[in-house]
Symmetry: none
Subunit: 134 residues, 4 copies
């Protein structure tokens, strides 16, 4: 199951609307289940450093089929997988990346957001993910 | 002078309309004058290999303030700069990347397109660049 | 549509049988449509340098939904896309990589082979690709 | 002493059987003593992120002739080699990578597993390593 251009743009639009409501200039990235970029928007005023972070959060979520912050539970101090965050070219293990699945359970893609506070990024990413419809 | 999100999206939309008219599923990327990604759309059916190529054409055009294929004139066999294409992490030296400038002459950004024949990519990129308005 | 482990192994086995019949120790790689490794076998005696080449041929074929050598038609001297082979982290543009598609036309994956003469690699890859069944 | 294709495949098969018994979709990689990939299988449903992790665990184990988690004892907080995990292109310092030796004591190769809980990965890797016979 492939994410369509229309679905990806709907997710970008929904995330951007939420970001505007919060007053947060954000970078929003949508990738497919194989981690290839599908749609992207950098809002005016978003830091340049957020480009790589938004892409990294989306990639982290898609690679493991979860939220980006879930990966931190495995590699934080005392957790069973120290150094996991160094795998796959470097993971972004804080909130703002959310993967989504098709009806049959396969990971179809992920949205990654960066630009505001972590909780704001997460809220914006959730708005984007909620706009995904099969 | 910075390209705005609205301008970038207008360029994506114009390029995508032309691509649809040509029946070419294309990857369309818009970057700013500093080569940082601003907006992006991968149309359904575009080859995955076109993601890197579209980004590379846009980057090549922005780095030198020209069209991507203009750089080939400097590094093609017999030209004065052999190996130039290996600089800057690798350049994409065929058509489909077009830079654009603000009223004062500064490079504001570039659009890069890949997915069809080289001449089609060029036509789609031109439609995108033409949608840039100060 | 995802390639299954069983399908991938059947392709590896078919390619390996052909390689044995030809007396060619080969590296055989099967990747999915997003270019992620699914199954792999390096036969005894295959050169270490063939690991990267087999993976590169498979990746080249999957990225563009064609055979690896088809890409050369676009970037060979005089062709319209000089430097295309520098995209996507470097392409392998000679025979031995073959992509395959599902019933709906989407690229499902690719097989890449290296170890013998180019024509032998191609024949082995064809045997592998022929073993793909939906 | 080189690991043969037959030995490597026997290790993949044994690891895969254990993974199936545990209900864990895992990535299983076998490399030789020089860290070059010999055989590989990604079971259906294993996260894409596990490809790099399984390869990294195997590489970590082969590079130091131990289990992957043993390396953590040298680079964990308070240990004498902080940053060791950043060497060699990045090490994977938790369990799931196991090296094995020939009769004369030389490191012949390593198996790396990722996909389940760390303890499950370790159990699957042990099943793979146990299938190595000279």
């Amino acid at each position: 199951m492939l994410i369509t251009s229309q679905q990806a743009q709907a997710m970008i639009d929904a995330a951007q609307s939420r970001a505007q409501a919060l007053g947060v200039p954000a970078v929003i990235a949508v990738i497919d289940g194989g981690c290839h970029l599908k749609a992207f928007q950098r809002m005016d005023g978003a830091p340049l450093g957020s480009i790589d972070i938004a892409l990294g959060k989306a990639r982290t979520a898609a690679l493991f089929g979860c939220n980006s912050e879930d990966v931190w539970e495995y590699c934080k101090p005392g957790a069973p997988a120290p150094g996991l965050e160094l795998s796959n070219g470097g993971l972004m293990t804080f909130a703002g990346g959310i993967s989504f699945r098709s009806g049959d359970g396969a990971v179809v893609g992920a949205v990654g957001v960066s630009g505001g506070a972590v909780s704001e990024d997460q809220e914006i990413a959730r708005a984007g993910a909620a706009a995904y419809t099969v």
